[in-house]
Structures are given as structure tokens and as C-alpha cells.
């Protein structure tokens, strides 16, 4: 199965539930378990929330390009924004304090996804999240 889903969305939190619905449904179609569907949905949601909160400093009138490419091996989510580039020193920098009020999103993303990469491209900040699919994991391990 090959599927390509793109969405140009405003940086408003009210659209997060739209993306969550799509990602959750797609994850289920891709044979991820219920727990994995929840986790992948959470990871994508946290990444979008970080863009709104940090890259766009809470501004709701900016643009985010959401792109999801699914093939038989993996789900590849690419998020593009034109906000402030992430400060790599702050990514996963607050793990020591279990009661910290911020910084959990990036830890969740890294724990859930198989690959996470940040890249500065000509169009802005590009975050890529990859989740390997069960059928591919089975073949890779056999």
C-alpha cells in the first residue's frame, strides 16, 4: 500500500484533533497495535504542538505543512514550518527532573518513533518522524 497525505494547516491548536484523527486511523490501517496507534498519534501531535509553541511562539496564524507518506515498510511524517529554528541544546535537555513541567514532548517523540531528524531547509524547519511498520519489522528480524 502506498499513500500520500498532505495538509496545509494553520498553526492553531483546534486543528490538532484533525491531524490526530487522520494519524490514528492511518496507523490502524497500517496494522499498528492500538497502543502503537495511540503512541504514533501522540508523537505527531507533540511535534505539531512544539512547532506552535516554540517555532511560532504561540502564534496561531502561521502555516504548517503536514506530510505523511506510507508504504509497506514505514510511515514517514514530515512537518515543515517557517518559524524559529529549534535550539538543539534544548531538545531533550530536561530529562533529569521527572516533575519538570516542560520538555516532555521531545522525549516522547524520540521514545515512540524509530527515527527522528531535524533539518533546516530552504522552505524552513523540517522535522521528519519515521515509524517502521509491523510487516517490515517481521521481515527485517527473520
Amino acid at each position: 500500500m502506498n499513500l500520500h497525505l498532505t495538509l496545509d494547516m494553520p498553526s492553531h491548536p483546534c486543528f490538532l484533533s484533525v491531524v490526530r484523527s487522520a494519524v490514528g486511523e492511518l496507523s490502524g490501517i497500517c496494522d499498528l497495535s492500538t497502543e502503537e496507534c495511540t503512541a504514533v498519534t501522540l508523537a505527531v501531535d507533540e511535534a505539531l504542538a512544539n512547532i506552535i509553541r516554540h517555532a511560532y511562539k504561540g502564534r496561531y496564524d502561521k502555516k504548517i505543512k503536514f506530510d505523511c507518506l506510507v508504504d509497506e515498510e514505514q510511515m514517514v511524517f514530515t512537518l515543515l514550518d517557517q518559524g524559529e529554528p529549534p535550539d538543539m541544546r534544548n531538545i531533550c535537555a530536561e530529562s533529569a527532573d521527572e516533575l519538570a513541567l516542560s520538555g516532555r514532548g521531545t522525549h516522547l517523540i524520540k521514545a515512540i518513533m524509530d527515527e527522528v531528524s531535524y533539518k533546516r531547509v530552504s522552505e524552513g524547519n523540517q522535522l521528519t518522524l519515521i515509524k517502521r511498520l509491523p510487516s517490515f519489522r517481521t521481515r527485517a528480524n527473520s
Binding site: 491548536p13 490538532l16 484533533s17 497502543e35 504542538a49 516533575l99 516522547l108
Partner: protein, 112 residues
């Protein structure tokens, strides 16, 4: 599925119960945070009913953690109950199941 969030409070015995319904995310967690912190001004026992919560992200977790910090400062107590699978999973992913007091039902939360 309810896409927005409803947060209401009621009093049972000596406990303020915060009933939360819907999805807790970046857009809706400020309302939860405000209700939790406001409620802590009225009680030493706060129970958060998460039975009807269908989604929670790290901002929702942070709101409950902030309330827990405030409760610790004022010597109040916070108990979570009615956690469904996805909410419990997020708490497990954030390794916070041991930080919060968790009970299965409202009756058990009131007895705690």
C-alpha cells in the same frame, strides 16, 4: 468523539471532584490547569475524574503536574481516577504512574 474539553467541578464528602470530558491538548489544557489550581484554593482533597478523557498530551500531563506541585506546597492531596487505556499509556510513556496517586473508581478515590 468530543473534540473540545469540558471541565466541571462538584463536591462529594470532603473532596472536590473535577470531571474532565474530551481531549486534553495544547489548546484545551489551559482550561484544565486553571480549574485545577482554582480548585486547590478550596480544598485539601482533589480528585480528577479522567473517565471521559479520550486523549491527553504532554501539556495536559504538565497541567496535572503543576497542580500536584501546588498541592504539595499547600499540603493538599490529588487523586486521579477512571484512567482509560490511552490516558494510562501516556502516563506510562512519561514514567509518571508512580508520581500520581491513581485509583480505579470514584468510590475508591473517595475512600483513599
Amino acid at each position: 468523539m468530543l473534540r473540545h474539553l469540558e471541565v466541571t467541578t462538584r463536591i462529594e464528602r470532603d473532596t472536590v471532584i473535577v470531571d474532565v470530558t474530551g481531549q486534553i491538548d495544547l489548546g484545551t489544557s489551559p482550561a484544565l490547569r486553571k480549574t485545577l489550581l482554582d480548585s486547590l484554593n478550596q480544598t485539601k482533597r482533589l480528585a480528577i475524574n479522567l473517565t471521559a478523557v479520550t486523549y491527553i498530551d504532554s501539556s495536559g500531563i504538565a497541567s496535572m503536574l503543576e497542580a500536584l506541585r501546588e498541592a504539595s506546597r499547600t499540603e493538599a492531596r490529588i487523586i486521579l481516577f477512571g484512567l482509560n487505556g490511552s490516558v494510562l499509556q501516556v502516563l506510562q510513556l512519561t514514567r509518571l504512574t508512580g508520581v500520581f496517586e491513581i485509583r480505579e473508581t470514584e468510590a475508591l478515590a473517595l475512600e483513599a
